[in-house]
């Protein structure tokens, strides 16, 4: 399932905004609520106390209370009830107090109640000492006073304040949603541009220019650089392959041209039986050469390809003594060495184990030692020396004292189809693939190969392989 980063960022931002906004709105509402009620409560208190002031000592009985009803000047709609502790009503009506009185009486608090469809805020002053007691011979007189004011207006103001706060909250939530949507969109634009440019990378023309937006973005820079490097690698790999195909095509076409010309030559004019036999023999030689070329190309491709595949330990490679493959290769090349009158000296120094397929190792040594023999002068020596190279590597050094390689050619000798000197490779029947194959094998074994040469003094090839 595809989820949009923009959507997720927006949702997250909105959630955070909503929580923050809710807190702010909640606090504002609570504050307004408290302020309005407390102001109403103080008003209530003031009115109740002013009513309390109208309660005095009865003229006729110092123990009785009297209420000066003439002075009552209350806002209309207020309710009150004045009663002495013995339950004798002095003024007002107690009907509105109802059942709540019992519960609220002692609380010295205010409470809300409904009476005749109107909400009231009520307050009780229980056993309040009266202010106006002239006769001090009697104990302090006390009175119970209940007072209520309509709370509708306060409730309406609270509701309005709440509505306004929520409105402001919603509007700011919407504004910040838009801003977030826009900001995330703008922030993502360089990524989208980067993606569209990356999408245009093709093997044939893997040109990748970083969009300016990427260069300015610390987050996108690593991705941009990685894409750039990837494009460069794709281009290099493609160029290498194209070069290889072009070179291979050239070699194959040349091989076919030779075969074709040999056969066409035979076809032209009238030839004797001996000429035909000779021609067929030459055509077969040409075919064998083409076969060798194709086999070498496939071998190189197989090794280079295998190097990219994960190796399963113990299945494709095994731990094998280096001496064994070197000796096998020398054995195989003895006939050639005798033919060229070259002596091969093998110098061993203990046993070295490496990880690799015996046939790959043997192919590697065969290629390198064959080169040494081919380029040696008659009755000279080539040496193959095995030794330690540090604690975790071993070294195989193959040296000849032959014709050497010109300095200008040295950097190219591992390139496929590179032939430094045609007369030399013609003599050896090479296609310029031997050292490429050797290098591919060494790379597959995670080793290194190095070549040193001085013209007319000889060539030394050094292979370093990790120990098993």
């Amino acid at each position: 399932m595809i989820s949009s980063i923009r959507g997720r960022v927006l949702a997250l931002a909105m959630l955070a905004q909503f929580l923050a906004m809710s807190c702010a709105v909640g606090f504002a509402v609570w504050y307004v609520h408290r302020a309005l009620w407390s102001s109403l409560d103080s008003e209530l208190q003031a009115r109740a106390v002013s009513l309390l002031a109208l309660v005095g000592q009865a003229d006729d009985d110092p123990y009785a209370l009297d209420f000066d009803a003439n002075q009552v000047n209350l806002p209309s709609g207020d309710l009150f009830y004045v009663v002495d502790p013995h339950g004798r009503a002095l003024a007002g009506s107690g009907s509105w107090i109802g059942q709540q009185a019992g519960a609220q009486q002692n609380a010295r608090k205010t409470w809300l109640f409904k009476h005749d469809g109107i909400t009231y805020r009520g307050k009780a002053l229980i056993e309040s000492p009266i202010f106006d007691q002239e006769n001090m011979n009697v104990p302090q007189l006390r009175v119970n006073l209940f007072y209520a004011v309509p709370a509708t207006q306060t409730q309406a103001r609270i509701a309005e304040a709440m509505r306004e706060a929520v409105m402001v909250g919603i509007v700011s939530l919407l504004v910040s949603a838009l801003l977030t949507w826009w900001a995330v969109g703008t922030g993502m634009a360089p990524l989208i541009e980067l993606a569209s440019r990356a999408d245009k990378i093709q093997a044939a023309r893997a040109e990748f220019e970083l969009p300016p937006g990427t260069l300015r973005s610390a987050e996108l820079m690593p991705l941009g650089r990685a894409l750039q490097a990837l494009a460069a690698r794709v281009r290099a790999a493609f160029d290498r392959e194209r070069q290889f195909i072009s070179d291979a095509a050239h070699e194959l076409k040349t091989a076919v041209a030779i075969q074709k010309s040999t056969l066409q030559l035979l076809e032209q004019g009238r030839a004797s039986e001996a000429e035909y036999r000779d021609g067929i023999a030459r055509a077969l030689e040409d075919t064998a050469r083409t076969e060798r070329l194709v086999a070498d190309m496939l071998l190189l491709s197989a090794i280079e390809h295998a190097q990219q595949l994960p190796e399963i330990p113990g299945q494709t490679s095994s731990r094998s003594p280096l001496e064994q493959s070197v000796e096998l290769a020398i054995d195989r090349l003895q006939p050639l060495a005798r033919m060229k009158d070259v002596q091969i000296d093998l110098k061993l120094d203990g046993t070295h184990y490496v990880t690799g397929k015996e046939q790959d190792l043997c192919l590697l040594w065969t290629n390198l030692i064959e080169n040494a023999i081919q380029h040696s002068r008659a009755s000279s020596r080539a040496t193959v020396e095995l030794s330690d190279a540090g604690s975790d590597c071993c070294r195989v050094r193959i040296a000849d004292s032959g014709t050497g390689i010109p300095a200008a050619d040295l950097p190219h000798v591992f390139e496929r189809f590179y032939r430094s000197d045609i007369s030399r490779s013609r003599a050896t029947g090479g296609f310029g693939l031997g050292l490429s194959i050797a290098k591919a094998v060494v790379d597959a074994l995670h080793g290194t190969i190095r070549i040193e040469s001085a013209p007319q003094r000889g060539t030394t090839v050094e292979v370093i392989l990790p120990k098993a």
Binding site: H250, K253, V256, I258, Q259, Q268, G269, E285
Partner: protein
């Protein structure tokens, strides 16, 4: 005619040389790398050059450029394994006269080679004529006044060269250079022999003599006055 083959694949070079000498009767020299090829090519004795592009020493493209830089006008037929248009255009632009992609057909190569030589000598038709002497470049035969003249290969080659260069004075050295490979010096006396045989076979009994000897300068094939 004398053709230079510059080709690094020895077998291909020799097959070409053999086919050219066997079928067209031309003399062929072979160079196996670019350096040798250029060195030989600049000697100016060749009537055509077959040049491979991928050469050790000096790439074919450079050989061609260097040759043209010396002012050499020898027709050059390039053998290439690259068939991209751009590469072919670059080749022709840098002075090649024709090209053949590998693998090529020997018959086509010979036909193109002969056409190049003809054009190089300023001849358009494969039938060359001077007076009533006609020489067919393709069938390698000669007629005088409608009658076939039987010629040995060497006599034919000598006549062919003189016909190609008809009207111009051709020195003995030039004949030797174009009819023999690089070690022509040892043949220096045979030219007189071939010329006299040719004269006997072609001019005997004819009113118009066509082969003229200019003492100390060489030979000329033309109708009428040798000067």
């Amino acid at each position: 005619m004398h053709v230079l083959v510059i080709e690094d694949e020895e077998r291909l070079a020799h097959n070409l040389a053999k086919a050219i000498s066997k079928n067209a009767g031309f003399v062929v020299d072979v160079a196996l790398d670019g350096e040798d090829g250029l060195h030989l090519a600049t000697s100016g004795v060749f009537d055509a050059i077959i040049l491979d592009l991928m050469l050790p020493g000096k790439p074919g493209q450079e050989v061609l450029a260097a040759l043209r830089k010396t002012g050499d006008k020898t027709p050059v037929l390039v053998l290439t394994a690259k068939e991209e248009k751009a590469s072919i255009i670059r080749l022709l632009d840098s002075g090649a006269d024709d090209y053949l992609p590998k693998p090529f057909d020997l018959g086509e190569l010979l036909a193109r080679l002969k056409a190049l030589i003809r054009r190089g000598k300023g001849q358009a038709s494969p039938q060359l004529a001077v007076g009533n002497l006609v020489l067919d470049f393709n069938t390698r035969s000669a007629w005088r006044a409608g009658t076939r003249v039987e010629l040995s290969p060497m006599e034919y080659r000598t006549l062919e060269y003189l016909m190609m260069r008809q009207g111009s004075v051709v020195s003995k050295e030039e004949l030797l250079e174009h009819l023999y490979d690089y070690n022509w010096e040892k043949f220096s006396n045979v030219i007189e022999v071939y010329i006299s045989t040719l004269r006997r076979k072609i001019d005997a009994g004819e009113r118009d003599r066509l082969i003229h000897t200019l003492r100390g300068r060489g030979y000329v094939l033309r109708k009428g006055d040798p000067q």
